[in-house]
Symmetry: C2
Subunit: 401 residues, 2 copies
Amino acid sequence: MIAKNMLALGTNRSVIRDLFEYGNQRAKEIGRENIYDFSLGNPSVPAPKEVENAIRAILDEEDPVAIHGYTSACGSEEARKAIAQDLNQRYHTCYSADELYLTCGAAASLISVLRALMTPETPEIICAAPFFPEYRCFVEANGGQFRTIPAQEGDFQIDFQQLENALSEKTTAFLINTPNNPSGAVYSEETLRTLAELLENKGREYHHPIYLISDEPYRELTYEGTAPFPASFYRNTVICYSYSKSLSLPGERIGYVLVPKEADSGEALLGAVAGAARASGYVCAPSLMQKVIAHCAEVRPNLEEYRKNRDLLYRELTQIGYQCVYPKGAFYLFVKAPNGDGNAFSELAKKFDLLLVPGESFGCKNYLRISYCVSHDMIQRSIPAFRAAFEKAQSEAQPGT
Amino acid sequence: MIAKNMLALGTNRSVIRDLFEYGNQRAKEIGRENIYDFSLGNPSVPAPKEVENAIRAILDEEDPVAIHGYTSACGSEEARKAIAQDLNQRYHTCYSADELYLTCGAAASLISVLRALMTPETPEIICAAPFFPEYRCFVEANGGQFRTIPAQEGDFQIDFQQLENALSEKTTAFLINTPNNPSGAVYSEETLRTLAELLENKGREYHHPIYLISDEPYRELTYEGTAPFPASFYRNTVICYSYSKSLSLPGERIGYVLVPKEADSGEALLGAVAGAARASGYVCAPSLMQKVIAHCAEVRPNLEEYRKNRDLLYRELTQIGYQCVYPKGAFYLFVKAPNGDGNAFSELAKKFDLLLVPGESFGCKNYLRISYCVSHDMIQRSIPAFRAAFEKAQSEAQPGT
């Protein structure tokens, strides 16, 4: 008498995790230096020095009862104020602390927003491929319906005809992730403007808003200028943020939800987010990390290492013959499988101890994700394996030549 | 189009929180020193020095990428090993690291276990009054049915006749909390032995186990010897633990679930716990705190301050005429309302700036909870207010005398 769906979620690990565990196993056999593991999106750059300095300063100066004590469910005012102030400076917005709800990271942010928005009348969340595979689990395990639209290959912007066809009265939100995991694509201003117009029109047609859930853990990881800020384009944007990637704190579980007051039913929605967080067992975001964020809200990541990795990989792989949209953000390259089948190519690549995540669970069967948050040295050493796998796929495709 | 149940949970805060906020408001009006706030269960004793030392040592010695990086979903092996070893030393058990799943605190532990156990066929969780009010929310907001049995007044052990009547084929678990919030009662060995026998028999009768969910955040807070360990009495015990109270880390959100391998479907249940954690957006427990626990699994709280508070309050209140079961653990006194109505007496007490939580939401309308995790000095200053409130209640009850 155990919940079957929970058992399935707990035992069928994600493809990414499976590949990662395979890599650990294989590393024991042939040595870590002989494995080219591009599976995980785990930041390889350490947290900025300001984070450590902040922790030490907090320990030196503050009362331990306050450092480690409960905060309000929505998070400490000092942290929320610091975040609002930083956003306002960068995006010319006028957010205040009471539009923010601190969370235990992006997954917690998303669960809270999804549970707040999905109702029996409006259970649908729409997402454009390619998308982070856990989205499906987050929606479906909490009573919603996850609908996807195909990727717009070529640039990984949005295919608006597909989106228009997918939207219905039962849609409560469109879920985006820009810069994108796994494609590295950044939605352009034009994309966001067109999107806002479509959602606004559809909301009027259905007599209820279609919210835009903007999952932004990679917001600060852009290599070609700042990414356009979705909330500046559409009033009904709910931001889900995490410091996992921008401050290299993925294990610390710290992030936030921002529901603008100007959004339709904004205040009620933030109340429902609080209720959903409570229903999911979130009491408050980790308290020491809240204090760290209050100190470091304006700290930006050092992207030089990721940029070097991207440039090297992109140059080498395209030279070999891999096809790939040039990634402007995040730390992923999303390449077309040279043999047209992501699963098959991932298996083939394993023979060269090259671990690439097949694109199927991201909604793109003929692609593979390469995480380049790894050491530059490993990338350099991996190039011959990339070449060999490519050539192997070519030769298998044309057995006669 | 917002989820109404989530909005209700987010906006109808708990009575405890309401009282606490009232206290903050009132403190602004008349000064903090004139408010006797006994509302919150927020540890007043700082985290043991070992916690700070551990944080500093980790920062000094370890790689920041590892300190703040993702761990396995179930938590780092070093932390799980340290916890298992500590339990084994104290309780002569033989737990191993792979029976443990680290969580973001007790609420996360409970949500994960509840979602893993509650099914359409077995949706029922039974709990004996008095109980922590959030239990109801955790069960009901996640599709379960929360059934309660009345308190066994006099000693707050379990009324087994009531429990037997309440158990049914639809019951998946009985949920206990010893030492208890709000009564401070500790279940005796006899209680746990009788309980084990009843659950074992009923499980046989229903052809499925009735699990015992043992919520143990106060395990280490006992003043009269060690509390009997429920898992030693009943094989199908699932432990939900938190370091919030024992290490004074309530804001850090760190705890664990332990599902013994010897429990019926133990391995599958732990898998479902992992799935439920995933479905609720828990990626891993906060990573720095996992490392702290690996260092501090054997550290025990210093209880002298709480003990002094308990002794003073118990002596003074019973002398005034309040009736109260002598609390052997936790940091609460659960007193009978002198006027027979917890809500009315809480209101009356407010007139003396004395903040006591009415017992209704704990399942005991004629009681009040007094949290004594406060300064000893405030308790001393509050005694006249307790006396005045008592006398006021007496005089209102007998207006003619």
